[in-house]
Amino acid sequence: MIWINALVQGLLLGGFYALLACGLSLIFGVMRIINLAHGEIAILGAFVVALLADAAGVPPVIGLIIVIPLAALAGYLLQRGVLTRSLRGGELAPLLATFGLAIVLQNLMLQLFSANSRQIDIGALGSAGIALTAQISLPLLGLLTFAVAVLVLGGLQLLLSRTGIGRAIRATASDPDTAELMGLNSRRVYAYATAIALATAALAGVFLGMRSSFDPFTGQAQLIFAFEAVIIGGLGSLWGTLLGGIVLGVAQAIGAQIDPSYLVLAGNVVFLIVLAFRPSGILAVRVRA
């Protein structure tokens, strides 16, 4: 029974990883950039919501409404200020620039918020759950996170497939030069994509902050988890990212059930196994064009 419980908890955790990973996947899909500051941006979102709650008594939901547009704006500016410039420097430059940015953000948070770990206080919601059997209980927050993840992924899918901006993003992703010839401004399209990606990262960070405690060093691990979810699921597919997140979450939950110190290790091992035997991911999708 404890194994079924681990499976259920891992499944819900997978929703969180999918939410965390979709922004990383979007930036990579559109610009072929891995944003190495992704985890730090998520944690920064959590810090801002926690700070608003502690200092001004702003409830987390309102904090979230404040943080998401701020993150989107930060994404727009990041693209305009740093990524556009670094994209001109070839394949390596964006990696190096975002790695530098990750170090800056991590230490800036350390300087501003100290190394103390904190958590976003959500009152009774944090411990509430629906008891299925004596051993298995569905945590309400986990269910909420999973639902939000499915909504965000579905929303992104609809945005990409049905709307004008989605069409522009897909066109620029497959061939920026031709897209420019068709009258699209690739830099603006990139900026929109980065804005969306950072907004989802901050959203995921806030859910992380409600679920567990975090500190400025938490971001590094989150980047790795998000990356693992993307690769396990298969690049180029948002639903693959959800599946990848679930596989990672279940692996971690089962690992932690064996020994709490195996949580991260079990996820890494599953990632490496997928890399060895199915390097294009479980739900490999042929990237269109």
């Binding site: 072929r32 190495l36 420097g89 390596l92 190096l96 530098g100 170090i103 230490n107 091992v269």
Partner: protein
Amino acid sequence: MSTAHGITVRRWEPSSRIFTTAVALVLVAGVFVPFAFGPNVTNKLTQLFILIILAAMWNALAGFAGLVSVGQQAFIGMGAYATVVLADDVGTNPYLAIVLGALIAGALSLPISLLAFRLRGGQFAIGMWVIAETIRLIVGQIRTLGGGTGRSLRATNVYEPALRQAYTYWLALALMAALLIAVVWLLRSRVGLFLQAIRDNEVGAASLGVRVVPAKRLIFVLAATGCAAAGGLIAANTLTVQPNAIFGVQYSAFMIFMVLLGGLGTLEGPILGAVIFFVIQQEFADQGTWYLIGLGLLAVAVTLLAPRGLWGTIVDRTGLRLAPVGYRLRGTDPAGAGPDPTPPLEHAGT
């Protein structure tokens, strides 16, 4: 030197002859440092040599093979742990253990490359990080390796401290010289030409018959061996290994910073970057977070504003060349004196 159609192809130039001689003299003079200065100076210089090794290895990987890795700490840690195990448990001479540890880690990097090379670009970078983290977590679980608290290196305690410091220093000097010579030799070989072709255009190089993956794998193994040698030296210099420190991602941050600042893809740049980083570290490391914020900002600024780094910028401005790698074309001057009629052209240079 060969002349055809009035153009000379030259490997060696006066500047590179002078530089190579000067480097050789500095290295020879370096041998005598422990006799002339105290253990404090030899300790600091050992740290500098370790940084130069790390920068040169990361540069070989990223600058010559186009493989940006955020996980080279995997090999630093493997080298350090192999040194402790060989010296303390197996009973090997500790300095021999550093060399053997580097070779073992180099051998282990081969199967690791099979996994890591399935990823490309940014995915490779962070995939290497996952591999380093996995090794860190596994090492932390192994009780004979000291688990999460690590172990201390005891085998060197048989030497008197000043002598121990001098031995570590000499080995660091020798390994640095050997690894730098290996990089120069590799770049001057056929593989070096392959690598530069790959760096400039991988598909084009492959279509001309360059075997891309073996060439990259060779550099990967060399970089792993060099990083592991640095790890062994770190263990001998600090006398302790701890998984979270020796497998820490901060080593990648330092390597990236040194190479970017000095000049990615040049031979001289990373050495310059390591020296500057060493000075910055001595001056500002006690500033803690602000020091790291400054390093990060500088890395972003150099990437965006001066992507060829300090050395690249110097070369662009002056045409100066020091290391004898690559060739240079010059229009011959009929009078045999005076300035060249045509500006120098870099060909397959660094």
